[in-house]
Symmetry: C2
Subunit: 488 residues, 2 copies
Amino acid sequence: MTTAAFRPLRAAEITAWDHEADVVVAGYGIAGVSAAIEAARAGADVLILERTGGWGGAAALSGGIVYLGGGTPLQRELGFEDTPENMKTFMLAALGPGADEAKISDYCDGSVEHYRWLTDNGVVFKSAFWGEPGWEIPGDEGLMYSGGENSAPFNEIATPAPRGHVPQMSNKRTGEQGGGYMLMKPLAEVAESLGVTPVFDIRVQRLIVDDADRVVGIAAKKFGDEVFVRARRGVVLTTGSFAYNDAMVASFAPQLIGRPAAAIEEHDGCSIRMAQALGADLAHMGATEVAFFADPQLMARGILVNGRGQRYVPEDTYPGRVGQLTLLRNDNQAYLVIDEASYEEGCATTSSTPYFRFPPKWAAETVAELESDMGLPEGTLQATVEVYNRHAAAGADPVLGKKPEWVRPIGTPVAALDLRNCTAGFTLGGLHTTVNSEVLHVSGEPIPGLYAAGRCTSGVCAGGYASGTSLGDSSFFGRRAGIAAAAN
Amino acid sequence: MTTAAFRPLRAAEITAWDHEADVVVAGYGIAGVSAAIEAARAGADVLILERTGGWGGAAALSGGIVYLGGGTPLQRELGFEDTPENMKTFMLAALGPGADEAKISDYCDGSVEHYRWLTDNGVVFKSAFWGEPGWEIPGDEGLMYSGGENSAPFNEIATPAPRGHVPQMSNKRTGEQGGGYMLMKPLAEVAESLGVTPVFDIRVQRLIVDDADRVVGIAAKKFGDEVFVRARRGVVLTTGSFAYNDAMVASFAPQLIGRPAAAIEEHDGCSIRMAQALGADLAHMGATEVAFFADPQLMARGILVNGRGQRYVPEDTYPGRVGQLTLLRNDNQAYLVIDEASYEEGCATTSSTPYFRFPPKWAAETVAELESDMGLPEGTLQATVEVYNRHAAAGADPVLGKKPEWVRPIGTPVAALDLRNCTAGFTLGGLHTTVNSEVLHVSGEPIPGLYAAGRCTSGVCAGGYASGTSLGDSSFFGRRAGIAAAAN
């Protein structure tokens, strides 16, 4: 990348435009396709510039969970009550502090309509609920808990409702057409049917502004040639996170150094940089999703302890919360202590979710032996198990609030899985945008002609995370970006 | 603040300059005065624009600790060995991950010279060491531990050396001329003697650039009038942190919402915003210092437990580390459990540091009673005390590594202090600058004519903190800013 990278160009310097459209979208992932569809429906002709050879982005490779609620048809069919207010209460508690209340409010109020928009555009959610502890649905059910809504402490804060909506997959086991692909495919087909024109293998690099500092185009590279693309109404940036920009990760989210995940290598932060060069503001640059590579079926049946042998999380919660608490608060040190019977049971569950399952590193006849084998200070793990068992005998977990259905005393023989350094994640911070997906200048005013959505923006998450909020806010505010850009 | 705030002005638009100098410094705190002195010595005529009615900034109100090491004359006189390499090892371990290695390296290599610069300019460090647990020195000794160098885990990573250098105070007890004042006063006098011109009661608002995007001045408000100040060689931004900008705190460091401290209300982030409007890059915007309002003399003699009754920090470490671990990792929930004898001893220490001392909230004849009175789940605190006492009987703390001198079994009667919500702090993130204090554009190139230092920049701290690193890197890289600006 040359040092001129990211610096805006002046429109007056452009002698010939290679492409031209009303709305130009950079990035053909979930935010980009959503923006393109809405802009096209609003009467704009739309060009999408995509760096790779096809549509999809990180979304098409993902599990496809979309965070929706407030009483979607799927929730209601499956017997779950939810309201926009209840959804807001959960999101503000789980995704803050400092979360963008206006965005969360709009997102929750518009969630049922957004569900309909997705299904109207061909996304299929099978009317079946999957209620096991897990990261992703192994079958093709359409609804799951994906943010710890039914676990402590959130089950005391808001009425639990599952909000992870998963597009129906054709064959998850063989890896064909996973949930993310089944989300992207119908939307890309709709975009095409509306006349949206994709340009592939093109890499955006610099924004182009007129003399009034309005964004009127974008400069890109295609097979080594500089290409100038004019946007008559607006530019929409949707090129994803900065998880694969090592320098930005070191500067803004150093806890993720060396552990990017669930993003794609094209997530290099270029949209953020291009807009920053125009004085765009940022938000929540340190916020990160954190995945935890351990089987939730086993976790719920044991206890997770840190490097001091102490419990720190209700083991039946959303695994992404386990990941955040492990990496950000416990030095990435975690062990799962589980007795033989529970381990066997977890491995044998009929609706098995064989993700991240591996054998124990240590096994012993007593907790004292196990503690010694693990190298924990004498008495630490024993004290933890003793306190846990004392309450578990009565079916309770007053320390962390694990649900009674998963609470039972830890017996012997007992084993421990080594879950140190089992985390990875992607970045959640980015451009500071309005609820209409306008990119804000540090003055507090929108930058004319510039819109953004998806993981190059700060969305509904300020620090916490729930699976599906990225595909969720990317599509929701992607639509807003397309509508706003086309309205110029 | 108008919406035009922060947007750069074009020099061509300025019809008359109200002030003019070679180097214009915004902010008359420790970074500003250091920049001014060096710029003046390099032959530049220098103007300092200060928003308040006098010099000082947050520095003059602070405890005055300057983090210096690598074998300063004061360290050597008092019998402490240190090297630049040893200092780097500590700083990289304690202030990262993601810390700016180049800055830390230069800072450590130049620390002895920087000590001499301070003393040559009239700052006095009394040759006496203060070795008690504490935040700030109650007397006028010149050297203390200020970052947990002599506590776990850092005492195993680098050779412990005290690096908190404190300017000698005339009368700390009465609040007259504290350490920070005694740091600023001689430097301000030197600046004045060199002909540096201060302009007070003036508020900087926008940078002024020429047609090549070089910074050539700054626009400000003085009693309602817009004032244009031309900088022939460069502008140096040193107006402090964003701790008192509520919107920026919510966006970048939400853990500090409602709890700013050790900054002054003028710390509104305006330098960061003005430079961002030119495309300046940021770094470590989420990093924060966190003070903890509890007496270190008492903490070292007891055990600190979180809301689950678990220990989480060696109680004899730097209180700022206690603060960070409490706020950022333990939901701001902390209790100090201490027996009566230790409490009395802590209160009666001859070299008493009566900071943040208050009586226990609970007292009981047994740990079980105390636990119940505190509302902790049955068995939790008892298990913690039992494990602690088991090892303390042998003078050890294998769980957290508290030093043997502070380890003794907790007896009865026993009490607990309520230390929940006892934290506050200031922000450490800001403009991304080079080791020569040039402000970097997101392209990776310096912005011509623009320099910055102090807490409007990201300095040597990426997340951890040691007392004195702010006055330390502000003065160290403030000097660099003055030298670089004058060299144009």
